[in-house]
């Protein structure tokens, strides 16, 4: 199982806090997961455009070529604006 979480604009656009998806070998790359989520609808497609989208794997910001394993927690969110 992969736990997918969304924050800020991204969360509001997909209107969803998190989804669990079953891990499969074909999801071993972040980009595959993004493409799977994008098929959920126009809002998902819009929210998950790679431009201005950040991703954290297991709570660490990660590049798009990061390999994914079963059990990982993956979060999508816009550039951060704290401080």
């Amino acid at each position: 199982m992969l736990k997918i979480i969304f924050f800020a604009q991204t969360r509001e656009l997909v209107d969803c806090d998190s989804v669990d998806i079953t891990f499969e070998a074909k999801l071993s790359q972040l980009e595959n997961i993004r493409q799977l989520l994008v098929t959920r609808g126009d809002k998902w497609d819009l929210a998950l455009q790679r431009e201005k989208l950040l991703v954290a794997v297991n709570q660490t910001m990660s590049p798009w070529d990061t390999l994914i394993n079963d059990g990982d927690e993956i979060a999508f969110f816009p550039p951060v604006t704290g401080g």
Partner: protein, 154 residues
């Protein structure tokens, strides 16, 4: 110490803690603190209030990581980072960073490094309520520039 909290913080109590929690309190001659507050204007718009969202777990992890980087780079004591979440009004305190060192240059640099990296690495997001409605704050190019400067300076 790293704390993410809804409540306001007391800079006097944090200063005491920063000074007295160190192994050798009288070895630190320089204390630099940074406080960030909600301004009433941002990009020409009057701010009514602001909501701060974060990614629990990752927030603490990313800040711990930044603190370790600072401690590896400068001879500083244990810094204190407090960041508020939830609803805030103009004038409210958002973030506190306190750094002690034997020498002022290290304290200044480490404190600025911590806030510069927090700004681009820690998963917080601000949503502003203005007279023109509600919107998420855009990330600033200048924040990326500020943090990148530390990479060059290594």
């Amino acid at each position: 110490m790293i704390n993410i909290q809804k409540d306001d913080f007391d800079i006097a109590a944090l200063y005491q803690q920063l000074n007295h929690s160190q192994l050798n309190p009288n070895g630190y001659g320089a204390i630099v603190t940074f406080v960030g507050k909600v301004r009433d204007f941002n990009q020409q718009q009057h701010i009514g209030s602001m909501t701060l969202e974060h990614y629990p777990g990752m927030t603490e992890k990313s800040l711990s990581d930044i603190v370790e980087q600072a401690k590896a780079r400068w001879p500083i004591g244990d810094p204190i980072i407090i960041h508020r979440v939830g609803e805030l009004a103009p004038g409210d305190q958002i973030v506190y960073i306190g750094v002690v060192s034997a020498h002022r240059k290290a304290a200044f640099e480490a404190c600025e490094f911590l806030i510069d990296y927090l700004k681009i690495k820690a998963p917080f997001w601000k949503k502003e309520q203005t007279e023109n409605g509600t919107h998420w704050v855009d990330a600033k190019e200048t924040d990326t520039t500020a943090a990148t400067r530390w990479e060059k300076a290594k």
